[in-house]
């Protein structure tokens, strides 16, 4: 067992965001040093990796575990530590369990499946923009589009009524709020688990032909004994939760990027095919997953020239990797024609790379191909300093984006 050396003057972590649009300045200092040891809220230490190459190396290494029950696994706050008491899903598993469970859902996210979903997504986006236009300015883009679209899509995907979303989103928010006590986070999770338990139980009584996700899980995985009902409940919960929060935040911040960079907006309007690369660039610049990814070393391993011992915790900071000037010159610049934008790491890397990324991309690309064509004069309806940012949330984004046209 590794006993943390009681080094004084270690930087504390996490580092609160003071600048709303770029990561903490400390990450650039860490990047210069290389792997950096930090002190956490509970007196434990962890390693922080900020260089793009080191983040890739760590996340590709079989010597790091995603399992929060492993010794040394770091927790940002007491609320995050409470997650270890939640039921585990493949997001916090290592192979072979990770492989087994993840592969129960990958067929819903294939390239072919996304192409099948494309017309429905385009229809939703057109409808939501139409509703915004009908509502008239000023309008909260987060409420009417950024949040509404992914919630609609993920509700359809897992087969829950859209109308249930208000309480589901509230519970999700409680879960992600780093400032709330651990008990609130746990209680929120319990509510969500109870809700999805009802959903799965209903499907168990009548799975239909298995053409929908939950029905298919019942027929192919629960009834065959490949997984339990609770396994399925928690996987669906994970998809619902991860499937709306992150995408909603990215849509909001992506729109803001364009509102603050009018020349980039004009480029997109002149050539909507740039939406594809613009989406990669906004993923890089905004990195809603700004505290991901954490791991625990399960063997002694050298990453970025630093020996990490088994039982030590590590953050492979995706946001820092996304701002590494060695890979992305002028990293704070929003450049929708950046040649290597698709090298962004917001969806993480290695075997836990986001399962929903094709769906996220489909939603984002559809929004950004369309929004500025239909609302070419879209602008902020409030001064920048009145835009509420999710400063204390595990996933970064905007609480609201008042716009007018």
């Amino acid at each position: 067992m590794n006993t943390a050396t009681q080094e004084t003057d270690l930087p504390t972590f996490p580092i609160p965001r003071t600048d709303l649009l770029v990561p903490p300045a400390e990450y650039a200092k860490f990047r210069e040093q290389g792997p950096t040891k930090v002190r956490m809220w509970d007196g434990r230490d962890a390693w922080v990796f900020t260089r793009n190459a080191d983040v890739r190396e760590l996340l590709s290494s079989p010597h790091f575990s995603a399992d929060p029950t492993k010794p040394g696994y770091p927790f940002l706050t007491p609320a995050r530590a409470a997650t270890v008491k939640s039921y585990q899903t493949f997001i916090t598993m290592d192979p072979p369990d990770h492989t087994k469970f993840r592969r129960m859902l990958t067929k819903d996210f294939t390239v072919k499946r996304m192409e099948e979903l494309r017309p429905a997504i385009e229809k939703y986006v057109d409808g939501l923009i139409g509703d915004m236009i009908e509502h008239g300015p000023p309008c909260d883009l987060v409420k009417h589009l950024a949040l509404k679209l992914p919630v609609t899509v993920v509700s359809m995907l897992v087969g829950v009524p859209y109308d249930d979303h208000e309480r589901l989103v509230k519970w999700s928010n409680d879960r992600l709020d780093l400032s709330l006590p651990a008990e609130v986070s746990q209680q929120a999770y319990k509510h969500m688990a109870d809700y999805f338990d009802q959903v799965v139980q209903k499907k168990e009584k009548d799975p239909g032909d298995g053409s929908d996700m939950v029905g298919r899980l019942v027929l192919e995985q629960i009834r065959t004994g490949n997984c339990t009902r609770m396994d399925a409940v928690h996987m669906i919960l994970l998809l619902y939760f991860a499937g709306h929060e992150t995408t909603a935040n990215q849509i909001g911040m992506g729109v803001l990027n364009f509102l603050m960079n009018p020349e980039q907006c004009k480029k997109l309007q002149a050539n909507p095919e740039l939406a594809k690369n613009a989406v990669e660039e906004m993923l890089r610049l905004d990195t809603p997953t700004h505290y991901n990814a954490c791991r625990a070393a399960i063997a002694d391993v050298t990453i970025g020239g630093q020996l990490i011992r088994a039982g030590e915790g590590a953050y492979a900071l995706l946001i820092a990797a996304n701002f590494d000037p060695a890979v992305f010159p002028e990293p704070t610049k929003f450049d929708i024609e950046r040649a290597n934008a698709s090298a962004q790491m917001t969806f993480s890397y290695g075997l836990h790379q986001c399962i929903g990324q094709p769906l996220a991309r489909l939603e984002l690309q559809t929004v950004f191909k369309t929004l500025f064509q239909r609302l070419p004069n879209l602008e902020l309806a409030v001064p920048f300093d009145q835009i509420p940012f999710k400063r204390e949330m595990y996933v970064y984004g905007l609480n609201a984006l008042p716009v007018r046209w």
């Binding site: 067929k107 390239v111 890397y349």
Partner: protein, 81 residues
């Protein structure tokens, strides 16, 4: 097989082989997006399948792109000498 120069002084593309380590595949599908003529996905679990085990040499760049984008290093490209 050696490279040959064509009339406009360009090096002709080398032929290559693709080796897949399907066990590592997480079904992300980047390879399909990079080279949909070469890579497909299994209907049941989204794991990569090779659609063309004799890829034309001019597809090397697309396949190398796929190999780079793959988050778990499934795709290995061996160029013929």
């Amino acid at each position: 097989m050696t490279t040959t120069k064509t009339d406009d002084n360009q090096v002709a593309p080398k032929s290559f082989r693709i080796i897949l380590n399907q066990e590592k595949c997480i079904g992300a599908g980047h390879c399909v997006t990079c080279a949909p003529d070469i890579f497909g996905q299994n209907e049941d679990d989204g794991v990569v399948i090779l659609l063309n085990d004799n890829p034309p040499p001019d597809r090397l760049a697309a396949v190398e792109s796929a190999a780079r984008m793959c988050p778990t290093g499934v795709i290995q490209v061996t160029k013929e000498e």
